[in-house]
Symmetry: C2
Subunit: 496 residues, 2 copies
């Protein structure tokens, strides 16, 4: 066996462990009975430790170092080796003990968060989160020298991202989007009461499955289950699962989580399965991942054309609820812009204020400017500042998101990056795909999916996010595309 | 950390890997989409390999050997060490490559079996099974010298069991049970058509959950899902799951699989969770495990008293189906003795002929007296011989059971052992628990469960099966208790 084949074998084994962990995590959030939690935390910690040992083995290091100067490799193979060597060297910075402790702390913090959120009791969560933040600060130090310590965490989700660049980007968000949302707020608000009537759970579930099928999600290689926080996970590109949340009194939750997670899942299903375990079989970054979910959710799912066919299906499923609602009313209702407390149900414009707030908090928390005990009041003051809202309870405030309980600091900014990439990619798709919008109106998503497969999915991590963006659109990420999209759409919707 | 604490840590880690595999297997048989199968096989194989490496590590061997002469240990600790050292030495006989190949072959064979059974096409399955049988014969050789090569496999499920002893036991079955069943066959048969009307799936599901609750199954530490072959699995004693199969045209399947798997699950839920990963936290043997499921299924579940309360619940759930059925008719219907093709739906007497056939086939297959290609015709001739039946198709014949596709040879005999232990234990329980039968009539299963917890569950693997049987009943396994139970019950039911 040559070195590259050995490398592939080792990477597959590491992936086997990571995907096994993913199965255990999926189960933890969908079906696991409550008493299973403690031993599950221990099992995940053991798997994390073993995965880490394999990912930092001397043998892997030797092979990677040998292959890094092997001129006979193809360009794709070279890029795989470069990427894997970088990951290897990053992984070496962690001890197995640290990885196991982090994994165990995350499981415990996640459980504490669930209880704290249900009971609206931040104090139940705080001691666990404190421990986790301490570990995260330690992690920044382990990972070495960055311009800003938070960069180390950002890079785990968005390789190459810098705190300084994000500050510039969010300055644009503040300057341009805040003003634009104010213009909207000055106009009369549209009606959306009919989205909050009673919607039968089973019918909603069936409707969501139909939306996923229409997008091209392959149910032979995936499935949808219920969880308290919708997510997509995968155990190979042949087993990509989504979860959703169905609220009987709000049809929005099911619709947007199905389309959003469906977008993520299409990306994973489009990755080359023969590259299992290698960078060339992986997504580029969370920002690019999110570009796929946001493109489907917002640029497609919240467009007039998408609902031309789908609205009649919806009215067939819920005839009473929509009997006096016109197609135009429905389009307006799903695009109401209005400051609100909960990120996941925010509109596509004010959404970025939610991200901005979390970005500022995380930065301060990692810097050590604020501590876990300050979180609730800091959070509430930011919501007042950016969204003009008083936060009535921690459950609707600082406890709302799962991310910190999972140890995911540096993750939130990728949501905004995703929306901005999506706008830029979709503008390009409209240029390149003949009759794209009329195909979407007909419910034919294949041309768009084929384009995304070709432009994004099939490349795995061959390109960096920046390279990919340039290869598709001819330029780096540019906030202008998002502002153009927003301006065109909402000027018309609100008669600005 | 002292050696015993180190030993515990290592055993917990091995258990973490084994239970992670169990989660992946549970998912494979309940929720996994079809395309996920190939990579799942690979993931299970990797976990099996890692588990094997840990279970055969030099470090573990050194600690076990040191502890095996440590006089300061408690009796329980000494027994743990003795058992673990035996397992360690057995595991050393396997190479990691063999374990990984076995795991991968099993996953592939399982998939082939599923297709073959659905298509009634043994040929789809045969080449995989051949490979697996070859590996199993190799395994017998690896495991060393036994009086009979099949002993090596039997011992994996029933430590201490011998082919020669089973032959004696099954001679009793042949001599006594065959004659008794013939006496029954000469009598007029009871009616059970009403068990095969239409039974709504959801109502059946709910009814099954009620039966489990009544038995004392803890849903905070478990759950029930659907699978094509009912099973119990656990990922600690705090997460013990059952599956069932609901047939709209046969209420028997749901009832007996719920009670049967419930019995297994109660055993696992009763094992001491603080002994996680150690012999003292494990079940004794599959025969003892099966004694728990059979005791609940047959000695309790098929008794007149059990249905005194539960029959009225059943008639409430399905009023039309049972409107002209008396409680006595129902009791007779669930205890019909009649030769049939499918083991899992056999009555509690002819059941043992199904096991006997499999025992004879496995022995011959491992000896090499027959080959996989002979299986179908050999099977059919045995069904003619013992049950007087012509097998119409392989799906209803040699393809009916999951076991061989899982590589489980030597497993079937434990089913009969379980029934025989159950009869012996239940006879003792009736002596020791005051008013046991009237408590069961009232639907109060707690006295029985408490007795089982005290006599069986809480001890883990402290005792061997034989020791446990003696400690509970004062004597070794004795087929007489089963024959007494059968004779009393069916003499009355069939007016013999």
């Amino acid at each position: 066996m040559n070195n590259y084949a050995k490398y592939k074998g080792m990477m597959r084994k590491i992936a086997d462990i990571q995907y096994s962990s993913a199965v255990l995590s999926w189960d933890q959030e969908t079906y696991m009975p409550p008493k299973g939690a403690n031993f599950r935390a221990q099992q995940l910690s053991t798997l994390a430790g073993i995965g880490h040992e394999l990912a930092t083995s001397k043998e892997l290091g030797e092979i990677l170092n040998a292959l890094s100067s092997d001129a006979s490799l193809s360009e794709k193979e070279k890029r795989n080796i470069k990427q894997s060597l970088k990951n290897y060297n990053d992984n070496l910075k962690y001890t197995t003990a640290f990885v196991e402790e982090l994994s165990k702390t995350i499981s415990e913090t996640f459980q504490a968060w669930q209880k704290a959120k249900a009971d609206n009791n931040f104090a139940l969560y705080a001691p666990y989160l404190e421990k986790l933040v301490k570990l995260k600060r330690e992690e920044c130090k382990l990972l070495g020298t960055f311009a800003h310590p938070y960069d180390a965490l950002l890079n785990q989700y968005e390789p190459g991202a810098k705190t300084a660049d994000l500050e510039l980007l969010f300055t644009d968000v503040r300057n341009q989007l805040v003003a634009f949302v104010k213009k909207i707020a000055a106009k009369p608000q549209n009606e959306d009461k009919f989205m909050f009537l009673h919607f039968d759970k089973t019918k909603q579930w069936e409707f969501g499955l139909d939306l996923l099928k229409q997008m091209g999600y392959d149910f032979e290689g995936g499935r949808q289950d219920a969880s308290s926080h919708p997510f997509t996970t995968n155990f190979s590109s042949q087993d990509v699962r989504v979860t959703t949340r169905v609220n009987e009194k709000d049809i929005n939750e099911m619709i947007w989580s199905c389309i959003h997670e469906g977008g993520h899942a299409l990306y994973e299903q489009g990755l080359p399965s023969e590259e299992y375990g290698l960078p060339s079989g992986e997504y580029v970054s969370l920002g690019i991942h999110e570009s796929q979910s946001r493109l489907w959710e917002n640029n497609v799912g919240r467009s007039l054309g998408y609902w031309k066919g789908n609205f009649s299906k919806l009215t067939k499923a819920f005839p009473d609820n929509f009997k006096s609602v016109s197609f135009e009313d429905f389009y307006k209702a799903m695009n109401i812009v209005k400051p609100s407390l909960i990120r996941t149900s925010a509109d596509e414009l004010t959404y970025h204020f939610h991200v901005l707030i979390r970005f500022e908090i995380e930065k301060a928390l990692i810097e050590g400017t604020i501590e876990v005990n300050d979180l609730s009041s800091y959070w509430n003051s930011k919501y007042k500042e950016y969204l003009g809202l008083d936060v009535p309870s921690d459950s609707k405030g600082v406890l709302q998101d799962i991310h910190w309980s999972h140890g995911s600091f540096g993750y939130f900014p990728t949501y905004s990056l995703g929306s901005f990439y999506a706008a830029q990619f979709f503008a390009q798709a409209k240029k390149e795909i003949k009759g794209l919008e009329s195909e979407i109106e007909k419910g034919n998503m294949k041309p768009l999916l084929d384009w995304l497969r070709e432009k994004v999915h099939k490349h795995g991590k061959y390109y960096s996010a920046e390279e990919l963006c340039i290869s598709i659109t001819g330029e780096k990420l540019n906030f202008k595309y998002f502002m153009d999209y927003a301006t065109n759409k909402y000027t018309q919707l609100y008669n600005l």
